[in-house]
Assembly symmetry: C2
Homo-oligomer: 802 residues x 2
């Protein structure tokens, strides 16, 4: 699929009507299915052609050495890379004596579609073999949101003309050959060859199982399959298995109009500790249960799960159907990434591709969890319990770095630091506060006191300890945090990064507050009142640099004194800058990869006046190139807050279309979970003006001219609140719960069940549109240029990348 072509525009689904071989890898990411535990890229059933075969199990990785030309103390020696595990989605087809392969013969029809309310990837194809025989194929694939270990494929082949001999081979294949990847782009993931060592294989009747372990990380994983086969009389079924392959074959002859249908139940499991029989039995039990549910049962459960989700969490947009589609696509994939991750990390790409080696970063806590907090709060608790489970590693890392408390890794799968470039890895200490604030936010939004007591408190305490030891008081008593890297990766190792210092401030305060609420548990962690007093003192004395002459906050000490990047002299093809300019040059100049100070203004809006926000926003707009996918959404939020609604709309669209339009050019490696989540944030926190800093959740709705209506539901303090915004008024409706206090603009209102409250929507006075570096302006959003039904869409001019 080329950049000129989009997917068909529909508010509830995403569909492709033709197959672009060059864009296969991108479609495989866009149509990927996952439940947070299992991830299946949308490889064609028959395995080939493919862009990048991918079957992932959350937490299954292989170790690989990290080499350094010049080593240093504390550098991680071993990295973790997600691996392509046993492929269970394979269903090969032989038509007479020709393998069904789209590259040969004639593909007369192709359609793939993913309905966000159904959670099933459906495919239809009509194909004429090189020998002239025509068949139709219908397949449907799901990764169950209700049965964690289960994926399933419903595969049907129909003869169109003359009797045809059909063989359907359903397989499990380990150690699939992968295409050789990367051409020096540091963002591409390392490909690991044949990482699985065979332990056991078994096939009998319609069932087969393979058990393997990874060579160095020593994880055991099992895949099993069972089948229901329906067809004309005389279908013969055989089974076989060897080390890296198991196969169930169904053979028959179909006359025109006759069909062979094979329903495949696939089970996955893995463990770092359990025995071979235990892991094997676990997956075989899972497929037994799945077969008991049956295809229709799985389908119904899937639909029910999603219906429940959408009824409480949908975001509706009137006036821009493409954005409507994009935001549902975004929510759907965020849910897929998180639904059943259960004490495992949520990776930057979810389980949709091997990008970033399958690592989790700060963006999970900063972009993904804030969305889930209000729509799937249980997943947030699970994700933070995973972080909590890595505390022993994080404490060890802190000790190695000479710090107190816990230092969480910049990038990891299991919890160990895997970053091989410390200025943009270890130095980004803000990840500690990102995690702590995610925990505090979750507790505030849900009132989950038990979580706070058992998990949140310790996360807050250990990160507060880290901040207290990382910073120091200067001669006049200010608390300074030096030599750190903020979100913007075009600066590094700077002093008093405003984002970091404000986040640390919140972290220190939140920790002290949590200790007050849970004094017994805090005492067990060794916290005393002297320690919390030291945290409060440091928070109070936190130094926040400000450039009085310019009237703006420097991103970090000295930033506004630096030379401006030569934007005029930088041609378009030199973006993303990191691929064309050395770090030393990026670091020492005023050029911003992604929102940093602007993100601080969103997350810590209380620390800035409205005037400062407007001035800062304008200042950083001129410097921000959005070479990261983690930027447009934040810029959208702050653009809306400072009254630049059209600009906010443009940024919102960029965030939302990141993967559907492949704006970063790397959707092939997996979807950008944080940008997808960011699109939701842009709508709710941007146009909805939602802020949740204190006791009461607040809204300052601002609707751009391009939208007619924006409505969203969210779970707040045990209630389900619906917010419905038009240009005239905003209506707050309580769908579940008793009554809730919300703030509209500066007024606090009480919303009770059956008593919606409406208030006028504010239209801000027109302000001058901020300017961006030449060539880096977001595409102007023209929603009315978009029609429904698959016609080309605009909006993808600008390439951003991380």
């Amino acid at each position: 699929m080329t950049a000129q072509e989009g997917f068909a525009v529909d508010p509830w689904s995403i569909t492709e009507h033709r197959l672009d071989l060059a864009g296969l890898a991108r479609s495989e990411s866009v149509f990927a299915l996952s439940n947070g535990h299992i991830g299946l890229r949308a490889n064609l059933d028959e395995g080939e052609p493919h862009g990048l075969p991918g079957t992932y199990l959350n937490g299954v990785f292989e170790l690989r050495p990290l080499p350094y030309p010049e080593g240093g103390y504390g550098y991680p020696e071993s990295g973790q890379s997600v691996i392509n595990v046993t492929n269970g989605k394979l269903v090969r087809l032989l038509v007479d004596d020709e393998p069904f392969d789209l590259r040969y013969g004639e593909l007369r029809g192709h359609r793939r579609s993913l309905d966000f309310r159904e959670g099933v990837l459906r495919r239809e194809a009509e194909w004429t073999s090189p020998a002239g025989r025509t068949i139709k194929i219908r397949s449907a694939r799901l990764v169950s949101l209700t049965q964690r270990a289960i994926a399933a494929v419903d595969y049907e082949v129909e003869a169109v003309d003359g009797p045809v001999r059909i063989v359907v081979q359903s397989e499990l294949v380990a150690n699939e050959q992968l295409p050789v990847g990367g051409e020096g782009d540091p963002r591409a993931a390392a490909v690991l060859e044949a990482p699985l060592v065979a332990e056991a294989h078994h096939a009998h009747g319609t069932k087969a199982t393979l058990v393997h372990h990874t060579r160095y990380s020593n994880l055991r994983l099992a895949a099993a399959m069972d089948h229901v086969i329906e067809g004309p009389d005389g279908v013969s079924v055989t089974s076989e298995a060897r080390h890296d392959q198991a196969r169930i074959s169904a053979t028959t002859v179909l006359r025109p109009g006759e069909r062979l249908r094979m329903t495949k139940f696939i089970g996955y499991g893995w463990s770092a500790t359990r025995s071979l029989p235990a892991v094997r039995d676990q997956v075989e039990a899972a497929i037994t249960a799945a077969r008991y549910s049956g295809w229709d049962g799985l389908l119904a459960e899937q639909k029910e799960y999603l219906e429940q989700f959408w009824s409480a969490s949908d975001i509706e947009i009137d006036g821009d159907v493409e954005l409507q589609q994009a935001v549902r696509f975004a929510l759907f994939h965020v849910v897929q990434a998180a639904a059943r991750s259960e004490e495992r990390a949520i990776p930057a790409k979810g389980l949709t591709g091997p990008g970033y080696d399958g690592h989790s970063f700060w963006d999970t806590e900063t972009f993904v969890l804030p969305v889930l907090t209000y729509c799937l709060p249980g997943a947030v608790a699970q994700a933070l319990r995973w972080r909590h489970s890595t505390l022993p590693l994080a404490r060890e890392r802190a000790a190695q770095l000479g710090l107190a408390g816990a230092v969480f890794p910049w990038r990891t799968i299991r919890g160990e630091e895997c970053s091989g470039y410390w200025p943009a890895g270890t130095a980004a200490f803000h990840i500690g506060a990102d995690i702590a604030m995610a925990a505090a936010r979750y507790v505030r939004a849900t009132g989950d006191v038990e979580f706070e007591r058992s998990y949140g408190l310790e996360l807050l305490v250990e990160t507060a300890r880290m901040w207290r030891s990382l910073g120091h008081h200067d001669a006049v008593g200010q608390f300074r945090i030096e030599g750190v890297t903020g979100p913007d990766e075009y600066s590094a190792i700077a002093d008093n990064n405003v984002f970091t210092n404000l986040m640390a401030q919140t972290n220190l305060r939140a920790a002290a507050d949590a200790v007050t609420r849970h004094q017994r548990e805090a005492a067990a962690l060794g916290v005393d009142t002297e320690e919390t007093a030291a945290w409060r003192d440091a928070a109070k004395a936190m130094y926040i640099p400000y450039d009085e002459k310019l009237g703006v906050h420097p991103q970090a000490d000295g930033f506004t004194l630096h030379q401006a990047w030569d934007f005029e002299g930088t041609p378009r093809e030199k973006y993303p800058l990191l691929l064309h300019f050395p770090y030393f040059d990026l670091y020492r100049k005023q050029v911003v990869k992604q929102a940093d100070l602007v993100l601080a203004m969103q997350i810590r809006g209380d620390a800035f006046t409205a005037e400062q926000k407007a001035r800062n926003f304008a200042y950083y707009e001129r410097l921000t190139v959005r070479d990261s996918s983690l930027s447009a959404c934040t810029q959208a939020v702050m653009a809306a807050e400072v009254g630049q609604l059209d600009l906010a709309y443009d940024y919102m669209a960029e965030a939302a279309l990141m993967d559907l339009h492949d704006l970063g050019g790397n959707t092939r490696d997996g979807l950008h979970m944080a940008s997808l989540a960011g699109a939701c944030i842009a709508l709710v926190a941007g146009f909805g003006g939602m802020r949740d800093y204190g006791e009461v959740i607040g809204f300052r709705p601002r609707l751009p001219a391009g939208l007619v209506r924006l409505a969203f539901s969210m779970r707040v303090r045990h209630h389900l609140l619906r917010v419905d915004i038009t240009h005239d008024e905003t209506t707050y409706t309580l769908v579940e719960g008793d009554k809730v206090r919300v703030q509209h603009e500066t007024e606090q209102v009480v919303v009770a069940v059956g008593a919606p409250v409406s208030r006028p929507t504010v239209t801000p006075p027109p302000v001058e549109r901020a300017t961006q570096p030449p060539g880096r302006e977001p595409a102007r959003r023209k929603p009315h240029a978009v029609s429904i039904g698959g016609s080309p869409v605009t909006g993808g001019e600008h390439l951003a990348a991380e």
Copy 2:
């Protein structure tokens, strides 16, 4: 040799009286011979036992890939490593049927000695074989300072008891097996196995030749040998050669008192472009010439060369014979490293070992060339001509980095950047000014206008262009240089490093001045008056940060605001810090690896008031841990200037004894050329108070209580000046030349031949001794505790390392 044992103390030589197998590698460095083209580690004649076999040819290296866990634009992909070339110094001995190997039988006597006036490594051994036969061996080895391609060995074996059958095998051996090195210490050099590919071999009579090339760097090198053999009647000589080995064997039976003597002439040559016959013929011609000179002739030439050197360049110390020895050891090795390097780099370890991969750094121009400028100026011109020859590569690198002019590599053999860690590599832009100032200094000291016109001018112009493009003017017109790393490697990527900015200032001014002197040549380089005006403007507007509250210069912007390192909490075994603490922590705290601001005060003393110097010195003393060998000498100079003479004396001793006492624990990998040169600087610029910034060279002699007299000679402005300092007076004598103006304290005096001038030596008022981080104080120098003749010496308590 253990840390408790020193070499015998003698003012003109260095001697060991016993062989310490555990300390072999260290002795091999200390007794290494070189002429700057060929380097021979002091491996025993018979090759084994060895610490680290080493035979080096300046400029012969192999390429090796530089791997990165996370790559980046502009990272060098290929490194250069010095390789162990064909070993020509091997002379093996068979005694009856036992190989002469010190590890077996009984070594009854061992003595090795290197006389700095003779330039020959002499060895005597008496050995009883396991079978009970006793022999005496005398060998002498030299690397000719007058015949660049030549080394020679004079080897004599004498029977002590009963007739003994002797076989002497003189060899050339390529691809020697090397011990496996390094245990994660990033300072240890990579060992490259079997880097030489055989091209030709030949042996006939007493001559043999091997020709090889390197596999990836594609350099051709040849080694040849010829022999004169004297012994009792009936010496039989055979020759043979194969790919990696050539051998001339002499066999005879010696009766008690009879001797077999073999004089071996070894020739080396290499080329990146010349043909096999050309390179082979070149080395065979060289040994023909050497044999014509004969052993005695080579010895005489060597002695004459060194006599001439010492007569014009000796540094005499009365009152501390160990320091006298150390400084002559230092001067001797500096001369060995530079004498015949001839348009090749002078590596950080000279040609004494594989440390730092054989790379050249900024220390050559900053420490080694300033010494050579006044004693062997021709070598300085050669070294800078090498830099000049790399200008095309440096311009290419500048373009890659987006800068004008030339960016010289932080570490290299041939000229390409080989640093794999840019924050302490590429970011150390000061190397450009270090080179430019070395050129300006050389021209000022020698008046070599032709050099300036042909080489110096272009070096100045291209580095000035770099500075102008690296820095920028801020809103109030100050010229700032941001995101760079100064000499102190415990800080990095800082703004407005004072050392860097002051060096850049000098560079810009010196370039503009040179252009004024050579307008036609400058025009050919494209320089016009607008460009020089821009340089002068930038120099004039150069921003030098100053902390008004503390009354000291911060090393770079914000440095004095940083948290102080917890010196009290850092135990001794945690030094050097870089092996025990992460860079992020070192970078963000006030802790200094090596003189940085203090070096700026030495090289740009004109930019600081006396009061600033005293305050700055005291401030940085408290922070400087001397984890680099490039620090003590500078601290000695500035301690002397601020009147802390005893402290200066202690530092001076540390610099001088760096290798003789193995203070860094890594003398095994090669000698620290810059520290050795630094010891000379500490004496001449420290106690002699020599400064050479302007038209007239100046002296402010200050003698520490521990020394009775210091005298040195130096070549200045075509004259040979001798300075003789006692506590009472300083006498300036012109040894060669007409008359010269020098400054003594604040008075300018004219010294004419035959008319020495004496002035009182100033004794500064006593000042409080500066304090250092606990445990990092330099050892107190107690010169009178040292006796002559090999007894243990003190002074090696403190370990410094780079």
